[in-house]
């Protein structure tokens, strides 16, 4: 029986597995999941993608951040069924079997990870920021990371690493390209997608 199948008696209703189709890191998967199965548990324990970490299960630490249809989401605040028909990107998909990405390399060089538990969520979130705002500045990076708990590094080498990638990217585009669209995301540099901590409706 699928994980998460609840007992019938005393539960509000008898729930049955639901069939979903998701594309994870480019691979299409059809799975039967119980409605209450968290996306984080689905990724980690059904699909074996244990790179997505769980640090709080209440939407604060950011360790579980993945992208759902291109938008960062906290996998601990979503149910797997909510991603039916969606494309999901996890840390395993960043470099795949190839070379590390520039952001991964920058974190390595700056000693931006110690235990590495926060790293996958930060890679996804920062990668997303750099995609939206390739020349993001230090304040934007710090604001983004305020939604990611890292207890090992004191953050500075992480900020340095992301900033370096941003500067390299800015070097490739005309200066000022991104100077005046600073307000297009909310103050946290977070687009408030599904599973965003600011959206209590998503909480289980």
């Amino acid at each position: 029986m699928a994980e998460g199948a609840p007992m019938a008696e005393g539960a509000p209703m008898v729930e049955r597995p639901i069939s979903i189709v998701v594309e994870v890191n480019g691979l299409r998967r059809r799975e039967h999941v119980m409605p209450r199965l968290l996306l984080s548990d689905f990724l980690r324990h059904r699909l074996g993608l244990t790179g997505t970490h769980v640090g709080c299960e209440h939407g604060v630490c950011g360790a579980c951040t993945v992208r759902v249809d291109g938008i960062p989401a906290r996998a601990c605040l979503m149910f797997a069924v909510q991603t039916d028909g969606c494309a999901i990107e996890t840390v395993e998909g960043l470099a795949g079997t190839g070379e590390l990405t520039p952001l991964q390399r920058a974190l390595h060089e700056a000693h931006g990870l110690q235990c590495g538990f926060c790293t996958p969520g930060i890679l996804i979130a920062a990668g997303d920021l750099l995609e939206r705002r390739p020349g993001a500045d230090r304040a934007e990076i710090e604001a983004l990371l305020s939604g990611h708990v890292c207890r090992c590094t004191g953050y500075r080498p992480i900020v340095d690493a992301i900033e370096r990638v941003a500067r390299d990217a800015a070097g490739h585009t005309a200066r000022g390209d991104h100077a005046d669209d600073a307000d297009d995301a909310d103050a946290n540099g977070d687009p408030g997608g599904p599973g965003d901590p600011g959206d209590p409706g998503e909480a289980a």
Partner: protein
């Protein structure tokens, strides 16, 4: 032979990025919850107390047992029947079992363990466990608890020199109450255990993200009634931080192990964040009263400390060690010879305490350095000047309480910190700011950072007379195995169980130099397997011991293997072993060219050792592996209550410049300088990571982090929305510098450095805030805007 390795100097000391990173960056970390070390493990959910203190009137698990998918339930009564109380470093009036038997003593204390086919079902069923509680009044005030004989775990007094005379002759006496609330390093990954009881062999195997084995493997085994050989603890390759907090995993090795034993299935449990905040482990809360006796010229004549440690609901090993960890360095960086300490340890209704970064250090330096700041204020001497006047200047220096500061340059560090901070300009800025009515302050902290704890220091909790009966305890030793396989592959195993500190990279650097190879060719495992790894009772990740003893053991084992390689090479090249030099993966005949007749590759030597025992020099064992142990020197058991509590003592000088906003009470750190002498830095990149990471922990503790309880004992900080960690925008850009006075006591001259800033930052920032607010009394931590705002103009 050590000199040989030191002389090579190739990789040691380089800021080499870590070999550990690649797997972690790809999401290929192997953390405890990622592993399926045994097939078919069932999942546990723990029923926990919502009360800080209550009697359990009735526990009914029948509905849970009958629920869908449930394997069974382990109750406190089962735990009592199947195990013994955990031992600690002192006897406790309250027996400590892995689950509550008839009384719960802290929020989150386990009451029952429900095991089911999956975690969702286990949690469903856990909700059906009915517990009737009779709430009791909680004890949360450590100062009140000392009067309760059931709460007072230990009380000792120590006298060094003549403190009475010092105080009698003092021109100025200052002091105050400095309380350090319990907080946590809060590793991002919580506890996790997979326990597998083998009824045939009577063996428990536990995979867990423990940071031991340390002494706690033995504590868990004894509680389970198992000889040490029947408890096999295996740690995963990766652990998501600890900072000491994961030493408490041993309690759950016992609890989940008992569930597996009772139910006859392997059981796994992964702690969630609510459980972690309520019930994993915290730092030790300290209530301290301190007094300093000064001469008018600023000489510190004597110190009196009355310290009460709050260890929470149970005495959890290695407590009450927090009280004694700093014992060799009680007088800090200063020459003062007269010292009195009253040390009391109490139980309250809080989460049990034990290791947490700094372990006793932050709690000690807040009062000691606070006293120095208050002294400076009263004496009208600049605090940096007052520190300088009193610094230890001659090394080796033996402290009144028995500590040994083998080497150092305290005065040099202080000078460097003064320069780096632009101290005089800061003071000028303060004058200007104050004239403008701004609340601008400067704080100093000088901190001796002990590393490599003496296993014997905890016995100070016993009176000298009773100590004699037990096996003497001393030292701090680590083991390592180095293996070269037939193809020349180099593998190293140490049992230092890192949680992100990069031990693998540093060991690879050290081994690379000793064998003359590239560090990328050295595979290192630092996780522990108590049945098959080399380890000692001191093994584990604490007291910043790695760079001394972890490296020491790896070096010793490597030297043995290198010796053998040289012997074989000498045999092949027709020379003496000591004429052979290992470099670039090749054994060279010293002083000759690089021709084929004067060199032989490591790979070939390894092949010979494995394939051709007959061709080896006479008397040489075949194979190419060595296990060696290294014990740090100068760590004798205590004598006359004096102890060298740590092998090494690094030094840190911090200068904090802060401003408190009059309107909001918000604290801004304008500048922060931290100068360290941690001996020789084996990898400056990783060293800086430890310093900055430790800074963040100290900064969190002084500005916002604490476990808070309501009057009825309710835990107020049970989620990450309530327990606030600093974010990047909160953390000031600390400016660091390192002086490297090599340690004469560790093989490569390194001193530990993982905890110094966690010790110094709370004191420096607290002193700066006292200065900003013109206070001549301490301020209760954490220094939240609300608290500071109330004190402005008070």
């Amino acid at each position: 032979m050590t000199d040989q390795a030191v002389a090579t100097r190739g990789w040691i000391g380089r800021a080499l990025p870590r070999f550990e990173d690649e797997a972690l960056l790809r999401g290929r970390g192997r953390f405890i919850d990622d592993l399926e070390p045994v097939p078919g493990a069932h999942h546990a959910a723990i029923v926990r107390s919502p009360h800080a203190h209550a009697r359990i009137r009735h526990l009914d698990v029948s509905a849970a047992e009958a629920a869908d998918g449930v394997t069974g339930v382990l109750t406190g009564a089962d735990v009592q029947a199947m195990s013994r109380p955990f031992a600690a470093a002192a006897p406790s009036p309250v027996p400590y079992y892995a689950a509550a038997v008839d009384t719960v003593r802290h929020v989150g204390e386990p009451v029952a363990v429900v095991v089911a086919r999956d975690r969702y079902l286990a949690e469903d069923a856990a909700a059906r466990v009915r517990v009737d509680y009779d709430p009791l009044a909680p004890v949360l005030d450590a100062r009140a608890a000392v009067h309760d004989s059931d709460a007072l775990v230990s009380e000792r007094s120590f006298h060094y020199g003549d403190p009475e005379a010092a105080f009698a002759h003092a021109d100025v006496i200052v002091g105050g109450r400095f309380d350090f609330p319990a907080w946590t390093g809060l590793p991002l990954e919580g506890y996790g255990v997979v326990a597998d009881w083998d009824p045939g062999a009577g063996t428990l195997t536990a995979w867990c993200n423990f940071q031991g084995p340390f002494t706690l493997h033995g504590v868990a085994a004894a509680a389970l009634g198992l000889p040490g050989t029947r408890l096999r603890v295996i740690t995963p390759e990766h652990s998501g931080g600890s900072f000491g907090i994961k030493s408490g995993v041993f309690v759950y090795v016992a609890l989940i192990g008992l569930a597996s034993r009772k139910l006859g299935v392997p059981v796994r449990w992964t702690e969630d964040r609510l459980e972690h905040l309520a019930a994993s482990q915290t730092s030790t809360g300290r209530c301290a009263e301190i007094e300093g006796a000064f001469a008018a010229d600023g000489e510190l004549l004597g110190v009196r400390i009355d310290a009460i440690d709050d260890v929470g609901a149970y005495l959890r090993a290695p407590e009450p060690a927090s009280m004694y960890r700093m014992h060799g360095a009680l007088t800090g960086a200063y020459r003062v010879r007269n010292l009195a300490l009253r040390a009391r340890v109490v139980l309250t209704n809080r989460c049990p305490s034990a290791l947490n970064r700094g372990f006793g250090g932050p709690q000690h330096y807040l009062p000691l350095e606070g006293m120095m700041a208050l002294g400076a204020r009263r004496l009208r001497i600049d605090p940096l000047r007052l520190a300088e006047l009193n610094l230890v200047r001659r090394f080796p220096y033996e402290t009144p309480s028995g500590g040994l500061y083998a080497s150092g340059d305290f005065a040099g560090c202080l000078r460097e910190a003064r320069e780096l901070s632009g101290y005089e300009a800061r003071r000028e800025e303060r004058r200007r700011a104050r004239r403008a009515g701004r609340l601008y302050g400067i704080g100093v902290a000088c901190v001796v950072e002990p590393s490599i704890s003496n296993m014997g220091y905890v016995t100070l909790v016993e009176e000298e007379a009773s100590r004699g009966n037990a096996l003497p305890k001393s030292g701090n030793a680590e083991g390592a195995t180095v293996t070269i396989n037939p193809a020349g592959g180099i593998g190293v195993r140490v049992s230092t169980t890192p949680q992100g500190q990069g031990h693998g990279t540093v060991v690879a650097q050290v081994v690379a130099d000793a064998l003359g190879v590239d560090p990328s060719q050295v595979a290192v495992r630092a996780d522990a397997d108590t049945s098959f790894s080399p380890w000692t009772v001191a093994s584990g990740n604490y007291s910043s011991r790695f760079s001394g003893v972890g490296v020491g053991a790896a070096l010793r084992a490597t030297e043995q293997v290198a010796g053998k390689l040289r012997a074989i090479a000498g045999h092949v090249l027709g020379a003496d072993a000591d004429e052979i030099e290992l470099r670039d993966g090749v054994a060279h005949l010293r002083g000759s060219g690089d021709g084929a007749e004067t060199t032989v590759s490591l790979r070939r030597l390894a092949g010979m050792a494995h394939w051709n025992p007959e061709g080896l020099p006479e008397g040489l064992e075949p194979g190419l592996a060595a296990t060696a142990y290294y014990a740090a020197p100068e760590l004798a058991p205590p004598v006359d209550d004096r102890i060298s509590a740590s092998t090494e003592n690094g030094f840190v000088v911090d200068i904090a410049v802060v401003e408190v906003d009059r309107a909001t009470g918000r604290l801004a750190v304008i500048d922060y300088v931290s100068v360290h002498d941690a001996g020789r830095l084996l990898n400056p990149l990783l060293a800086e990571g430890q310093v900055i990471g430790g800074f963040a922990h100290g900064f969190g503790a002084v500005t916002r982090e604490a476990h808070a309880h309501g009057a009825d004992g309710e835990l107020l900080t049970d989620t990450l929305k309530d327990y606030l960690c600093p974010t990047p925008a909160d953390l000031p850009a600390v400016r660091t510098a390192h002086r490297e006075t090599p340690s004469p006591l560790t093989p490569l001259g390194a001193k530990g450095l993982g905890e110094g800033t966690t010790m110094s930052v709370p004191a420096a920032i607290h002193n700066a805030v006292m200065d900003a607010l013109h206070r001549d009394a301490p301020i209760a931590l954490p220094l939240t805007p609300a608290r500071l705002w109330e004190l402005i103009d008070a």
